[in-house]
Symmetry: C2
Subunit: 270 residues, 2 copies
DNA sequence: ATCGTCGTTCCATTATGTGGAACTACCTCT
DNA sequence: AGAGGTAGTTCCACATAATGGAACGACGAT
């Protein structure tokens, strides 16, 4: 049995101890892929904290496997194979398929953008989206990851986490000020979560982006023991806090409907 | 030195020997992700050819890393982390960004669906797409992979491959009859490629899907030493072979324009 | 010409993954 | 119920494959 592994929440780098080689390779891959600009060998070296030789071989392997590409300028970039994996993982996502009609309905009711996101570690990963203006290409949000502490979806998801998992997650957070309203401490975040838990839904009061507000409701067991959420998002000039309060009910309804459908379609229990 | 390994182009070139652990893990991941239905442990065991213990640990690692998920029915499915990787790899794809305006222009000229694809092994991976009806969500084609031998893009890409790489690729092919027109031997495929090479563009004469035709032109060095292609695709009732011939010029133009832009924007020469 | 930086290669050491076999849980058949 | 299967999981001696320090080669700046 994994003994104290679950215990360690705050300190330690974690992440790589359990999965050995694979974990380290993926850590490297992730730094390259999630970086905003192309990285050179040394850039990665500085972050990874691994010896030169080791890192070099890891990168070589990643390139050989098609997960990374190396251009003529020696910069590493995400490779094509990732795309292939991605397409499959999205199109075959059961949860998304089950939730889709509810997203659409919620969009029709509100007229604003609807998001479906899943909690993963300290991030919310956007799994689906319905938008008024159908510019919904992959470049939208799908697959994108945002911090939990400054998004409606993130806070909704956190609000239904069992205390131990919540504590663990909170411990791993590092705050970054996106706007004037962004939570910057676990203390203030916790208060917000308590409110959200009572209400059954969470707000984003321009905490991630100015002029963007959102109301989100948690989806408890989204199959596979995942915690997810659904949200309605809109520009502040059009979407007041009062408006969000009004929509909150519908959002909660949708979230519960999805939970039920998941229960039915993906088998009970667990 | 590995003597005859390099010689044998047709069978088993690398794939798993070079990248050690990582390669094996990815092979497992790929079988799960590219499968059309959820796989159980034994299903994977049968395909992977690895001993039970080994495979079990590999899967455990993949799950722990979030690349796979295991449902209550013990079926393995693509995990969320893949989505995250995917989003980044697509949105940061230089080549796609450079080509995008040309795709759009070609679409305006023809009114039909335009695809951008990159050659990877024996597959074409769709990197971008412009469609009339803007239902272009990720579920479209992006990230999807199709065999080279039955797609316009595939044949266009093959037609500009240097002889050795072409031979290598052809050797790795296994044919599958998609329609009555699908190439089923390297011989007939080669003849087709020879014609395509002379013309500068390739056709798909309902070889992958009945009632779907396409004309495609190769893009030689799409940065990173990649070989790619651009194509116009449409339903047979609307798009005759004569029509394709007419569009062929525009498609070639677009392909060459992209090549040039890549040259400029991504630095010269390799 | 000299130093410093950056990417790449090498190789003895050892941590890590390997895989055969044993174990458990859960079905199905009689 | 009991016997026989099948499918998933765990264990551990062994060997492979990753490690990382150090040396090398290639540029570019001083």
């Amino acid at each position: 049995m994994k003994r104290d592994e679950a215990e360690i929440s705050s300190s330690a780098v974690t992440e790589n101890s359990g999965t050995g080689t694979l974990g380290k390779a993926l850590a490297v891959l992730e730094t390259v892929v999630t970086s905003d600009k192309p990285l050179r060998f040394s850039d990665i070296l500085a972050v990874s904290g691994q010896p030169r030789g080791t890192l070099h071989r890891q990168l070589a392997h990643l390139v050989e496997e098609g997960l990374l590409t190396q251009g003529r300028d020696l910069c590493y970039e995400p490779g094509l194979r990732l795309l292939k994996f991605a397409y499959r993982s999205w199109s075959r996502n059961q949860f998304r398929a089950v939730a889709a009609p509810h997203l659409r309905r919620l969009h029709e009711e509100t007229g604003e953008t609807v998001h479906l996101g899943v909690l993963r570690g300290t991030e919310i990963i956007y799994v689906d989206k319905v938008e008024s203006r159908q510019t919904v290409r992959m470049e939208s949000q799908i697959g994108n990851a945002s911090p939990v502490y400054c998004t409606g979806l993130g806070k909704a998801a956190l609000s239904v986490l069992p205390p131990d998992r919540l504590a663990e997650t909170l411990g791993k957070l590092t705050f970054h000020r996106f706007t004037a309203n962004t939570h910057l401490s676990t203390a203030s975040l916790k208060r917000d979560l308590d409110e959200a838990r009572l209400r059954g839904y969470a707000f984003d009061r321009e905490e991630h982006e100015t002029e963007i507000r959102c109301v989100a409701a948690p989806i408890h067991d989204a199959g596979f023991g995942l915690v997810a959420g659904i949200s309605v998002t809109g520009p502040a000039y059009r979407v007041t806090m009062e408006q969000l309060e009004i929509w909150a009910h519908a959002v909660r309804q949708a979230a519960m409907a999805i939970s039920e459908d998941v229960e039915i379609r993906m088998g009970p229990g667990r």
